[in-house]
């Protein structure tokens, strides 16, 4: 039976629906001490005085530590994602001298319970001398440097040019320019970050439980910071309550907890809460764009030019991956003969920016799709029609768009982009819609279409290690740990097919450095491409390994053996057969491990195209926006499990709708203080506001990997912003509302309407 392509329910679920999941917060070894963090109250200030003494005196407090008390780890984190264009700004685990954002760790308390630790945090006295906060990347570029020793706040400049770049605009019949703004989005996995560190002083080994997306990278960073050999550290990612990119890198609290566990020789646990998630976990989006598109009168694109700023926050924990991916994502699935993008990454007094689902792809898509809409409007052309004209056609594919990314020239593989878009256009009845009445009482209706090109995988390697268990099941370990994607099921499906075994005979182990020597992790929608193909490779070698072992047993040559349904037999002699369980037994008596490990190397990213179509209703009294219909057509390459792919697509789309309509951390421009750092004020999409999504899949196998897999977790989050903005503008044509600033809220719409159709709204 072929498992790939089946809507299989997940092997992960039974534990999770009965409350048996073990997340970091659920793990509390006996004797655990609890760590709590004293955080900066200022966006930018000098610390003039730090007094730990009152906190130290509280009953149940084991220790209170400022930077001078943890000197061995007081060094900058190794730069994440080194890039020649970047002058990295990396924090030390505790701030020294100066604080750079509200929430930066200043000191830590370790106590017998979290209640006591949090009480003690309040007793730590910190005196600050406030400094002017840099809260705007445009002005901030030339403001006094926020980091000691830096020349300026410009951390990196990114530049891409294809064809004649901006010079080509002179050949256009029409040039349209727009300013776009994406708010500062907090990713908010439902499980806040946390860590449990356990030190075995006898063996001098450190074990940590951390909800990280990459256990091996986490181990490496921890080893660097602690000055400990990697071989002495085991990192386990247990059940993890969402990651979305925010848990790819190590954070200050991780190092502090691990260091103090070693020093105190007791397990130390830090469990962050929601407020800490708001003021200490990497944030994203937060860009300002000034974008131009030049078109011919018939709608053909001549050039796209974008200048943008990344409001980077105080540090560069993941280098410039977000800002860089933005630039390379702009052209999307279109033929853009001339292109230029210049991006400035400017450090500001805010929480650092690091990848959140999409990592720049949504920003790039927003820019391009908004430009298409505005160009169509300026030409008096239909907004879908301009896309028809400019989408790449099958005869133009594969297509190199002139940009080099992830170590390879971006090459868009075969796909039928027009067909994909037309499926959505038809499903949402776009053509009929244009001519019908678009009012229902106080509600105006509008429709928006947006396309995207999802770039996935494409960097590094990932491994799969197969091992025959004593009961004849095959265990597959991979470094790509999951945070809810269902890897154990999907990788199990691939393995079962490629080994010709029943699915039930496969066990997938993820997120444990003890289970496989090397790994990179889960991000950039890479796991099925990377670990999936590694599984396929390992299956080949593992079969050979088992056949060779069986050949010895049978005193036959491996070529004469048959592998069928988990039984190895001598060809033509069916009586001479051994099941995998019997082989495992033989291996045990001969003290042989039957295992095989393979690593798959990426040869460039995979690309899948898709379209979203949305119908909104906007209330002309309250300016509330409701989503009435949502259609998606999506190329997921060879799909392993449609049930899981739908989950990823819908989940991503809803996160995109959050960015479109609700989510932005509002920072006071003068003080740098967050204004809405709670779930009461920062709205996540809820069940009541979200629609049902109708999804169709197309499957164009990806040519860069043998299985033809593509990533599917980020497509959903890329186009909802542009589609919703287009639909709102369409609904409110009468008022000339322009939806170029995210999130687009009833308040923004109201202000624009009362001003008679503004082109610039507030800045967040």
């Amino acid at each position: 039976m072929a498992y790939i392509g089946q809507r299989m329910t997940r092997v992960e679920d039974e534990r999770l629906v009965t409350g048996q999941g073990q997340y970091v917060s659920d793990i509390t070894p006996s004797g655990t001490l609890h760590l709590a963090v004293v955080r900066s109250l200022h966006a930018h200030a000098r610390i003039t005085h730090l007094d730990l003494s009152s906190a130290q005196c509280l009953d149940g407090v084991i220790g209170v530590y400022g930077p001078d008390d943890v000197l061995p780890i007081m060094k900058p984190f190794p730069p994440g994602m080194v890039d020649a264009r970047l002058q990295a700004r990396m924090p030390t685990p505790l701030a020294t001298g100066r604080v750079h954002y509200v929430g930066e760790p200043v000191a830590v308390v370790v106590a017998l319970s979290r209640y006591i630790a949090e009480d003690a945090v309040r007793l730590v006295e910190v005196n600050y001398e406030p400094l002017p906060a840099v809260t705007d990347p445009v002005a901030g570029e030339y403001a006094d440097p926020i980091h000691d020793g830096a020349d300026s706040n410009l951390a990196a400049e990114i530049a891409y040019r294809v064809g004649a770049g901006a010079d080509a605009l002179k050949d256009a019949d029409l040039v349209v320019q727009t300013s776009l703004r994406l708010g500062r989005v907090v990713g908010h996995p439902m499980e806040p970050r946390g860590i449990v560190a356990i030190y075995d002083s006898e063996q001098q080994n450190l074990s940590v439980y951390a909800g990280t997306q990459g256990v091996h990278g986490f181990r490496k960073s921890l080893a660097d910071m602690l000055g400990l050999s990697e071989s002495r550290i085991r990192v386990v990612a247990p059940d993890t309550g969402g990651g979305f990119g925010l848990k790819t890198r190590i954070y200050p609290e991780d190092v502090l907890a691990a260091y103090l566990a070693m020093r105190l020789n007791r397990p130390v646990k830090w469990q962050g809460d929601r407020y800490e998630e708001f003021i200490s976990t990497n944030q994203e989006r937060d860009q300002w764009h000034r974008a131009k598109i030049g078109v011919k009168r018939d709608g053909r694109i001549v050039a796209v030019v974008d200048e943008y700023y990344q409001d980077q926050g105080a540090y560069t924990p993941s280098g410039i991956i977000v800002a860089d991916t933005t630039a390379v994502s702009i052209m999307g699935p279109y033929r853009v003969p001339n292109f230029e993008a210049v991006g400035k990454v400017v450090v500001t007094n805010k929480v650092p920016v690091g990848p959140y689902r999409g990592a720049g792809r949504p920003q790039g898509t927003f820019v391009m799709e908004r430009l298409m809409d505005h160009a169509a409007d300026a030409l008096g052309m239909d907004r879908v029609q301009i896309r028809r004209i400019n989408l790449l056609t099958p005869d133009q594919l594969p297509y190199q768009n002139g940009i080099s990314s992830r170590g390879a020239l971006m090459t868009l593989p075969y796909g039928e982009y027009q067909k994909t878009m037309e499926q959505v256009v038809d499903a949402i009845q776009y053509e009929q819609y244009r001519d019908t009445v678009r009012c229902e009482g106080d509600w105006r209706l509008g429709i928006g279409i947006a396309n995207y090109l999802e770039m996935s995988g494409g960097v590094g390697f990932e491994g799969a290690k197969m091992r025959l268990l004593s009961d004849g099941r095959v265990q597959i370990a991979t470094g790509a740990s999951g945070q809810g994607q269902g890897h154990r099921t999907a990788i199990g499906q691939v393995a079962a097919d490629r080994l010709g075994l029943p699915f039930e005979q496969i066990v997938v182990v993820e997120g444990d450095t003890a289970a496989i020597e090397r790994g990179i992790g889960t991000f950039g929608s890479r796991t099925m491409i990377m670990a999936g193909n590694a599984t396929t490779q390992a299956a080949k070698g593992f079969r050979q390994r088992l056949l060779a072992f069986a050949a010895d047993l049978f005193e036959a040559s491996p070529e004469d053996l048959m592998w069928q349904h988990g039984t190895i037999s001598v060809s033509g002699v069916p009586a001479r057969a051994l099941s995998l369980a019997q082989i495992a037994e033989e291996a045990l008596t001969r003290q042989q491990e039957l295992e095989y490990e393979a690593y798959f190397d990426a040869s460039g990213p995979a690309f899948g195209m898709g379209t979203h179509g949305v119908e909104v209703a906007v209330n002309t009294k309250t300016w509330e926006v409701k989503i009435r219909q949502y259609r998606i057509c999506h190329d997921g390459g060879v799909i392993v499990n449609p049930l899981l792919v739908e989950g990823q697509t819908i989940g991503g789309t809803v996160q995109g709708l959050g960015t479109a309509l609700f989510e932005a951390l509002i920072i006071d421009p003068d003080s740098g203080q967050p204004q809405n750092a709670s779930f009461l004020d920062y709205l996540l999409p809820g069940a009541g506001e979200m629609p049902d999504f109708m999804i169709t899949e197309v499957e164009y196998p990806d040519p860069t990997n043998p299985e033809g897999f593509k990533g599917v977790a980020e497509g959903g989050v890329m186009p909802p912003m542009a589609a919703v903005c287009a639909a709102i503008e369409d609904a409110l044509k009468e008022w000339h509302v322009r939806a170029d600033v995210l999130p687009i809220t009833p308040n923004d719409i109201f202000l624009q309407v009362t001003r008679g159709g503004a082109h610039e709204t507030r800045s967040i």
């Binding site: 009965t18 409350g19 509390t28 439902m190 059940d239 809460d273 809810g484 996160q655 996540l684 809820g686």
Partner: protein, 160 residues
């Protein structure tokens, strides 16, 4: 202080401080770590448990308040190792990804099921709006609750 209550059908006596939260006592003292803390201020619903059959936020309740009451947590939804309808429907519809929010949704869903009313999708969405999920986008959760609740009500109608 010492409190006695019933948790998942078992009588329990536990020593608590007056300011300890129900969520913490269930998780730390009783080892029922199924419920999760996603916000600790009553918005996310991950900590939802049933108290005498009604959903409550265990992060907003003191342990001392439940003396003499019956508490059901996610660990108590399956009976004799058999998953309840909501749990089964969650698996079948892929209504969970990371699973962190899931205990709260299952408890809320089970409450809806116990109400024995037919609910349409809009009503289900409304009823679930006190629970946040960042992974699923809700649709498959609504599918699961719809199936569980309406199957149950359909059976009830047949029996009458």
């Amino acid at each position: 202080m010492e409190i006695t209550c019933e948790v998942n059908g078992q009588p329990v006596t536990v020593e608590v401080e007056p300011h300890w939260l129900l969520a913490d006592v269930l998780r730390n003292q009783l080892g029922l770590t199924g419920l999760h803390l996603g916000c600790e201020y009553g918005v996310c619903g991950a900590c939802t448990v049933l108290m005498d059959g009604e959903p409550v936020r265990s992060c907003l309740s003191f342990a001392s308040q439940v003396a003499g009451h019956q508490i059901t947590t996610v660990e108590g939804l399956a009976v004799d190792g058999k998953l309840n309808r909501v749990q089964t429907a969650f698996i079948n519809h892929h209504a969970l990804q990371c699973g962190f929010c899931t205990p709260g949704f299952l408890v809320t869903g089970t409450y809806l099921l116990q109400q024995g009313k037919l609910l349409n999708r809009e009503e289900i969405r409304e009823a679930l709006s006190g629970n946040l999920c960042r992974c699923t986008g809700y649709q498959q959760i609504v599918d699961a609750v719809e199936e569980a609740v309406n199957q149950q009500s359909a059976n009830a109608v047949e029996c009458e």
